[in-house]
Subunit: 700 residues, 2 copies
């Protein structure tokens, strides 16, 4: 094994480079495809420009935040509360997280029109282009993640000659950059996409009576831009963060468990294996011509499963070689992989109209919008039970299998490894997920460009498949966020201990308990903020669209063009403004709670936010998904079909579900990770000063 | 102080008897009042019969459950897992809890028509009768609670000559009887009242277009019966349980803190003081003739505040006398009292249309039902923040003031005492709360009996005042449930320790963590169950009301009478059937979690359910209350007034809010206490056997 620790980081780096190279190859392959008619390419260019304009301004806004944080971090570093690696780590995390979103969005905005154009030739052609663009996104995220990790690791190990403990302590802090960037991307993008969607629907569909994606609707481009900035860029930044967070925190747990460099390098190598396995998996995603929906889904699934099996086997070899005394860790990898698949499946079960829950939900539209709302909320609440049990079992298995009975720290290392296992094949799972918004956009372009009905049918089939994979992807994002946040919480306690902080983590310790209360409340408050933000932003779009219908003559008749840019601009402005309050909550809560309640209060808050955030995120994702598909189920001709009173009731459900599933719910995932990351960075400050310790000291 | 411990229990008993005697005096005073016209007394008699018929059948159903539980408990006792006091304690808790609900409902069903009749003479006359019936309820609950506690205490102390520890260990278990009874009452009653309400509204108001409380609506009697079985009997059983639970668990914490009999008797004496203070407070509830709404509310508040001040001063004397070395405990009492008042106030702030949040909510009806739903949910989620901070501060103050720095146990005793302090004046706070449904019923009777418009206006004023007090009461019920559940969790850990259980309560211990996840999910699942139950039951009422409108000739013309009894019967049957699943969840969850994860998992589950349940209960109560009042605000002529499109949107919000605020939300309070109670009773079993300990043992 001698010399292995010098070679392994290069293997990790190599996997990152392979992943990025494959992503680049796919990128150019997609770009090479036919853009379609001039009108299509024209529309696509508008969407692309809108999306890029948004992203640039988002980065500017976030840039101000980064400057402020860097100053704070530098002050703390000069006071000796942080090492001087932190500002650089913080920046690199933010940079790569942002870059992941940027590249993902770039390719998505190239692929949308090409997918539509491909769909003119055949269903499978469309699938292949859309899935390839998803692959770019998936492999960019994991490639950049592992690149960042392996380079930092090498700099700290070979450059600064740090020991295992110090390396992980420094690297842990770099997640905060990724988390903050992810939160801004998710919240900002989420508000953008839903403000545009709700605004377009309320005036276009409901008031003016024109169909979805009709080019006469001034908000239609903004709506399509939203799919990209919210679902693509936001999702990419979110999962980048989970991916990186799980690997780093597990490495930190390894040092606590006394596993040294082997323990740190194993999660990195598992991730490296996952990249290669994901690439192999993508080759199995292809079907015969004339395949139906079910076989398309099967083809996507085949790729994912093959990647998972390869990962599991190769991880086994790895663990038996490098952790020969802790081979039980393999079960942690496997339990993570299985948990990810199962949570994905149950998300689909609760939200797809192929299963009973959503079918029943659409039947409750028959007694009006109130009952479909009640039943949809109940469905979402109901659906929290199974994922909780799956995550619970996964924690239990990983903990015991990794040797938690003999060594508590070893058991917790196992829990971290299960998060790494779940995310190992992210390259391909994210590909199937990111494929969705591309197909959605392709449908929009087909509609706007007035393509043949057959094409629209094909893009609809792709879109519907995308809804399923998006649901699975959401469950997966939530599950991995939970395990990652958990590993981060444990890393935090290790960090506090290393700083000499006084931990009394018993649930009955008042600061812990109050922290739990506050933590459990945060996802509620955060969701309230984000939901209200969507409402306010949508309101502005409503006003603007009404104005254009009123003032632009010939718009409804199709003789004049709508002023799309203004709608995009309004969405951009208001989402950037509205993302500040929720983001501030995520960043300030751990600091304020820490300053008042001390480190025990922080741990309580993190655990409280994790457990209630997990339940809320699932509930919101599944209620929202089920309402959306219940509406689609009615539109497919059930319970009266499109235009019936039942359909109107279902539209109300869908509208309520929009901010649930695409803004608040997914942002909560990031919130629970960001809270942990901020806590880790500010641990030094809180250990030195907090009110509860001060009072305790005074009384004593 | 010698001999004091022999005298004190009799003082407590005396206060209980005084409270009951005063309740009885008020009972007969109310009964003596004029019933009004023959038609009014006829309607009232129908409501009373329906309510009693429901309650009898509910007791029968619950009786079966009690028999099963008694058998299980006896088996456990004969295996040495429990003492033989438990079955009797269990029964007495259930009996008195049920009796509280029964008496409260009896007086409420007498007072409704008398309040309507009193309102014919003047507003204040109506107020006085309704408030007196509330007083009966309030003082019955506290009187019976303290009676049960003091008698048991005397039996165990003087009869069985047990020591302080053994007394509290035995008494702790009796809360489970009260909790189960309360859960059945709250869930069953909550389903009944909302099924009738929603069913009556959907067909009567929406389809047939007849006003609320119109005698032609076949579900109108069931609707009024529902106010009594849900809001009165359910609320009574709920607060009975919090009251008793807080006193007993604080006594148990006293033995852990080494305070002996003084520590046990002090909470009982604080409660005794509270009864006397509440009675004194009731005398201050009266106004000059011609008083406006604001001064009416002021008059109710005056009574409450005077009782609170008297309690605080007398508790101070008590604590300085009997706990001279722990006078800081007084701050715990005061912080509890203040927290109760503050939570009540903020509940009102978020739900009353005199304040901005609800006014803004009604303005969002202008963009349709989807936006009012989104904004209402956001409002409820938003409103969780302040109560969490209040409870957190109250815990912190009580813990430190009671001496938590020197002795952890002493600090936790302080937290228990703050719950007792919050509930000390329950006699009068419950009176102002229970007054609401009586005023509501009075309005219904005035409408059905076709009384003068002026009378209806007066009952409407009383009802509207009742909505405010009900909101305050709900906040108060949630706040006290949280503190009580907290004290119970700590008592549980003490109990487990005394049984030799192996506690590792650190948040990072996997069973604790998994328990937290499961616990946080339970209120979601429970709410889903209860919301769906309301939906199913309401559906049956819809079918029946439609049938009667169709088949009974002359009903709509007012020449034939509706078949009210069938609707009452359907509500009764379905709510009794539907209450089983949620109740089973509350009882089985701690046992199953305990058998799998052991005592640490149970503590995690209890804490998780407490913190997420607290947030959900507040959210549901406040979203529901705000929707209700937003609708009323529109009906008062704002944003288009009654019948406008905005009003229709607000009705959707109100309908969604119904199960939120009157079924699921309040039941969650009981759930979090019941989980603790069941855990305490089954602690012996779980300490002896659970899977996690078994596996750990095998691996070791």
């Amino acid at each position: 094994m001698v010399g292995f620790e010098n070679i392994a980081p290069f293997l990790v780096l190599a996997a990152a480079v392979i992943g990025l190279a494959f992503a680049m190859y796919k990128f150019f392959w997609v770009k090479k495809q036919d853009e379609g008619t001039k009108e299509m390419s024209n529309i696509a260019s508008k969407i692309r420009k809108g999306a890029m304009a948004y992203l640039k301004r988002q980065y500017k806004t976030v840039g101000i935040f980064f400057v402020v944080m860097i100053i704070i971090i530098c002050v703390m570093a000069s006071l000796g509360l942080l090492t001087w690696f932190v500002p650089f780590a913080f920046l690199s995390g933010g940079f790569f997280s942002g870059l992941s979103g940027f590249i993902g969005m770039k390719i998505a905005t190239y692929a949308n029109t090409r997918t539509a154009s491909g769909a003119r030739k055949g269903l499978n052609r469309g699938l292949k282009i859309a899935f390839s663009s998803g692959t770019v996104m998936g492999l960019t995220v994991v490639g950049l993640g592992l690149l960042d990790i392996s380079i930092w690791f090498m700099i700290l190990k070979f450059g600064f000659k740090l020991g295992a403990d110090d390396i992980m302590a420094a690297m842990l802090t770099f997640g905060m950059g990724a988390s903050s960037m992810a939160l801004f991307a998710r919240v900002g993008g989420g508000i953008f996409t839903k403000a545009a969607d709700v605004g377009a629907d309320l005036v276009g569909k409901v008031e003016a009576g024109i169909p979805e994606d009709d080019p006469r609707n001034p908000a239609v481009i903004a709506d399509n831009v939203g799919d990209n900035v919210g679902d693509v860029a936001g999702m990419g930044a979110d999962l980048y963060e989970s991916y990186v967070g799980s690997i780093i925190s597990t490495g930190a747990l390894a040092t606590a468990a006394g596993l040294g460099f082997s323990g740190i390098i194993v999660p990195m190598l598992i991730a490296a294996i996952g990249i290669v396995a994901s690439i192999i998996g993508t080759f199995f995603v292809s079907t015969k011509e004339g395949a139906d929906q079910k076989s398309l889904l099967g083809s996507l699934r085949r790729g994912t499963y093959i990647a998972a099996i390869i990962s599991a086997i190769a991880s086994g070899v790895l663990i038996f070689t490098f952790l020969p005394e802790h081979t039980g860790v393999l079960w942690a990898v496997i339990s993570g992989l299985i948990a990810g698949v199962l949570i994905g499946f149950f998300t689909e079960y609760y939200t797809s109209d192929s299963y009973k829950p959503t079918q029943k939900l659409s039947s409750s539209s028959q007694t009006g919008s109130a009952t479909i709302i009640i039943d949809g909320l109940a469905l979402g609440m109901n659906s929290t039970a199974i994922p909780v049990i799956i995550v619970g079992l996964s924690i239990l298995v990983s903990f015991f299998a990794a040797g938690g009975v003999g060594s508590f720290e070893l058991g917790l290392y196992g829990v971290g490894i299960s998060a790494v296992g779940m995310l190992a094949t992210l390259g391909i799972t994210l590909a199937t997920d990111a494929y969705g918004p591309v197909a959605d956009n392709a449908g929009g372009i087909a509609e706007m460009a007035g393509l043949e009905e057959e094409v629209r049918n094909r893009t609809d089939a792709l879109d519907s498949l995308g809804n399923t994979t998006a649901a699975t992807g959401k469950g997966f994002a939530i599950g991995s966020a939970a395990l990652t946040a958990l590993a981060l919480i444990v890393s935090y306690t290790d960090k506090v201990e290393s700083l000499g902080g006084n931990l009394t983590l018993s649930i009955t310790n008042p600061p812990v308990l109050i922290g739990l209360f506050i933590g459990a409340m945060l996802p509620f408050l955060f969701s309230a903020f984000t939901m209200k933000a969507v409402g306010r932003a949508a309101q502005k779009i409503v006003v603007e669209v009404r104005r254009q219908f009123r003032e632009i003559k010939g718009l409804m008749e199709g003789t004049a063009e709508a002023d799309y840019a203004t709608c995009v601009d309004i969405c951009t402005r208001s989402s950037l403004k509205e993302m500040i309050l929720p983001a501030a909550l995520g960043i300030l809560a751990p600091i304020v709670v820490g300053l008042v309640l001390g480190v025990n209060g922080v741990v309580g808050m993190l655990a409280g936010a994790l457990i209630s955030g997990f339940a809320i995120a699932i509930m919101m994702a599944n209620s929202g998904g089920a309402w959306d598909n219940a509406k689609k189920y009615i539109e497919a001709g059930n319970f009266g079909g499109k235009g019936s009173e039942n359909h109107k009731a279902a539209v109300v459900g869908d509208t309520v579900g929009d901010p649930f599933k695409d803004t608040s719910g997914p942002s909560v995932n990031i919130l629970i990770k960001l809270l942990s990351m901020v806590s880790i960075v500010f641990a030094g400050l809180i250990v030195k000063f907090n009110v509860v310790d001060l009072i305790t000291g005074l009384i004593k």
